[in-house]
């Protein structure tokens, strides 16, 4: 089974702190994604990466950056955390084939910015 892990389940940070969220997948997937999930808004794509060192902006990239130095790892960075970035953050990965079983998700990181 595909396994996508995220470094923390819960995280509390202060406004202005730099925050790193780590995601690792063990199935050699090419594509990786970062979403945030807020009540009533569903999942919104922040960034995605289709290859090592490659990244593309999603729908809401402002205030975030990403890093993909290795195929299995995709990091989300909040350069200066703000309270409106309090949310559930979900990482996902998928094979390079558009068919199949869609995206595989990690358990999520619930980030609170005080």
């Amino acid at each position: 089974d595909v396994k996508v892990t995220q470094s923390s389940r819960y995280l509390v940070k202060r406004t202005g702190e730099k925050v790193f969220l780590e995601c690792v997948q063990d199935m050699d997937h090419e594509n990786m994604f970062w979403y945030r999930q807020d009540p009533g808004l569903g999942l919104r794509l922040i960034y995605f990466s289709y290859d090592v060192k490659m990244k593309e902006k999603g729908d809401i990239p402002e205030g975030y950056s990403v890093s993909r130095e290795k195929k299995e790892r995709f990091s989300l960075i909040l350069e200066s955390a703000s309270t409106n970035q309090t949310s559930m953050y979900l990482c996902a990965s998928t094979l390079g084939d558009r068919g199949g079983e869609g995206q595989f998700f990690g358990p999520g990181t619930r980030l609170t910015v005080l």
Binding site: V4, G42, L43, F48, Y50, L90, R98, E101, P107, G108
Partner: protein
């Protein structure tokens, strides 16, 4: 604009009955659709998918129906069980880079 939405935010179903969760989409160019289930405290989990060249696809206890004429997608769960309690999301594929457009979700509640 592009959007994927749900008709009902919450659905209550008697245990053992069939559940039908609906989803509307607006991008007629989308050709791949997926249903996900998200249980409390977990990430979304793939349930079933369907391509636009199909009208119906069946899995274990689940059926997805696609009506391209009215841009409507539904998920049917047969003999609903307590373990089916979750939020269900529909998502459509934009056609490039495997990005998905997500609906807001429907919460399915199972009554004993």
């Amino acid at each position: 604009g592009e959007s994927v939405g749900l008709h009902l935010p919450t659905l209550s179903v008697q245990e053992g009955d069939n559940s039908i969760i609906n989803c509307a989409y607006s991008n007629s160019a989308s050709d791949y659709f997926i249903w996900y289930k998200q249980e409390s405290g977990k990430g979304p989990q793939f349930i079933i998918d369907i391509r636009s060249n199909m009208d119906k696809r069946q899995g274990q206890r689940v059926t997805v129906l696609l009506n391209k004429t009215v841009k409507h997608l539904s998920l049917q769960i047969a003999a609903t069980q307590p373990g089916d309690s979750a939020v269900y999301f529909c998502a459509e594929n934009r056609g490039s880079n495997y990005q998905l457009i997500w609906g807001a979700g429907t919460k399915l509640i199972i009554k004993p």
